[in-house]
Amino acid sequence: MKDLIKKLTETISPSGYESVIREIITEEIKDFADEIHVDALGNLIARKGSGGKKIMLAAHMDEIGLIVNHVDENGFARFSPLGTFLPHTLVGARVRFLNGTYGVVGAEYLKPATQTKLAPLNKMFIDTGASSPKDSPVKIGDVAALERPFHDLGKRLIAKSMDNRISVVILIETMRKLKKTEHEVYFVFTTQEEVQVRGALTSAFGIAPEIGIAIDICPVGDTPDSAKKEVSLGKGVSIKIKDPLMIADPRIVNWMIKGAEKAKIPYQREVSSLGSTDARAIQVAGAGAMVGGISIPCRYVHSPSEMVDYDDVKNTVKLLIALLEKKIKL
């Protein structure tokens, strides 16, 4: 799986510009799906199996990015964010544009009094090495994402866009390993999650599943000054009970927990005060669905270096297979 994680996390394909990543995923899954289509918002929808319950698994394939809104007279490109960035992790970061251009995100700290303050995003700029709009390799509307290589630390892995390419890898691996299922399972690689969960809403409306599960990363509470939250890296699959915008259906939570216990897969119970996932949109699309979330604990979310634990990744695949193989009683 690590090769695929490297390949997907080193791909640049931000929210609204998912065609690059979609092509790579399509290539990976085409032999394992009964049917594949792409909907109007660019969601990649692959069905496997029929009968039983109609289940939608969603992993968003977009990543946070930057879009140029102005190139000034000296060639510096100002940008708007596609998704949420943490300003303190952006200054000094390198970016790569879809057209191949590299750049560095800069900000000025000219007055001593403001040196300790964070520059807001609208005071930052991308330096592409240009010195005028004319010789700038990027123009208004050009899109970039963070540029960072994948690093394998053994048990722990670091990359940009672990959010949410790690879940994309998990879904691909689940499709490969799931030999049989009694259910009609839709593996959906959604678009535009980072810009208010847009792809999941339309794909869920189209599929109208009974059960919806979002696979995504979740912030952890195991770093020195983290929020009061119990989830830690490497302690197992995180089963979502609540995040600020979504309460998982208790029937789904129970099903997941029983499934994990039966298959002896380590799991953690997640009540999160930060972030939300595709589940929130699947829950309210059309007449609604019973939803839940399976999260991969992740440190330094939305920074250029997001860290996950490889055991958690493998366990998530195991849990999904354990859940999908069997009859479902809720």
Partner: protein
């Protein structure tokens, strides 16, 4: 007013996302009052009271959310529990409250405590202590807590409903179970009334989180008209401006974007004719009720928000004048009975 049913609802938990206990009580009550009950995928309860009009008659939904605000265990620290909020809870009144923790092994009594001032971060003790610093104590040792309590266990207010002087009732979750009592009273009145339209009584889930139940139920039922019944702010300490209403001054009829102007006029005229006291509630944008999502569900539904004034909203001691519940029920009943088969054609957005 008979308050037994309402008081049973106020003694139940049924927090947002965990509504089952209160759903059961409503089911029991609505079975004989409706022609059939069903549940949405999210757990909203739908009771259909069939109209007398000929087939493919128009239908309406009356949505009253049944969920209540509360807390949920987010982290365990030894003997104490950290909690997150389910819905917008008023943190100023939390320290010292008696609560019930709902664990897999049954309900446990507990209390909400705040650490002493010198143990809080600087400045924190001078204002309402943030939820992240508050703890729940159920009396267990750290070992027992680890064994018996889980992340995700819910915590509800233990305050029992209290009938006070002047026909007032105090309790937690009057928001919005007072409206459920009004809708139930309306269903009772409809037993002996002729009505042409189908009426879908809906006890919706997760209003306090973002009206998830209202949008999905309306999409599933596809009614021709929608009424959200909820509570609004009664005048009280620190709440006395034009946005508030005298306690016991009757229901409010919404006016503003979410409220269809024709329905607003109809309700106003009807209340005047019946001599039911009422106020007009200006809701310029979103109403903060199920109405917001009823209106925009599917192709859109003409919607009106009717509210009952309560004091001390989102605290364990919300207060209502029970006569306003009766007035709201009567207004709903008379509106339903008034609807003729071609009422729909009259609903034109003419402001």
């Amino acid at each position: 007013m008979k308050t037994e049913f309402l008081k049973s609802l106020l003694s139940s938990s049924g927090l947002s996302g965990f509504e089952t206990p209160v759903t059961e009580l409503i089911k029991e009550k609505w079975t004989s009052l409706t022609d059939g009950l069903s549940e949405s995928s999210l757990g909203s309860l739908h009771g259909l009271k069939r109209g007398s009009g000929k087939e493919s008659r128009p239908s309406m939904i009356i949505a009253t959310h049944m969920d209540a605000i509360g807390l949920i265990v987010s982290k365990i620290s030894g003997e104490f529990l950290h909690v997150a909020n389910l819905g917008g809870i008023d943190i100023r009144v939390l320290p010292g409250q008696a609560v019930t923790l709902h664990s897999e092994r049954g309900d446990l009594p507990g209390i909400i405590v705040q650490p002493p001032a010198h143990l809080l971060p600087e400045g924190e003790a001078k204002k309402a202590v943030a939820l992240k610093h508050l703890l729940i104590d159920v009396g267990f040792s750290a070992r027992e807590v680890a064994r018996k309590i889980k992340i995700g266990d819910t915590v509800s207010f233990a305050t029992e409903p209290t009938e006070m002087s002047g026909g007032l009732l105090a309790g937690h979750s009057l928001d919005n179970r007072a409206s459920l009592a009004a809708l139930t009273l309306c269903l009772e009145e409809l037993q002996s009334r002729e009505h042409i339209w189908d009426v879908w009584a809906a006890a919706t889930v997760q209003e306090e989180i973002g009206h998830m139940g209202a949008s999905t139920s309306a999409f599933q039922i596809r009614p021709d008209l929608a009424i959200a019944v909820d509570v609004t702010f009664a005048k009280g300490p620190g709440a006395s401006n034009w946005e508030t209403f005298d306690l016991g001054s009757g229901p409010t009829i919404g006016l503003g974007a979410v409220n269809h102007p024709f329905l607003h006029e109809q309700f106003k005229e009807l209340a005047e004719k019946l001599e039911i006291p009422f106020s007009i509630e200006i809701l310029p944008g979103r109403s903060g009720t199920d109405g917001d999502d009823l209106q925009t569900s599917a192709e859109g539904i003409p919607t009106i928000v009717i509210s009952i004034p309560i004091r001390y909203m989102h605290t364990p001691v919300e207060v209502i004048a029970t006569k306003d519940i009766q007035r709201t029920a009567r207004l709903l009943t008379e509106f339903i009975a008034m609807l003729d088969a071609d009422f729909l054609e009259k609903i034109v957005w003419d402001d």
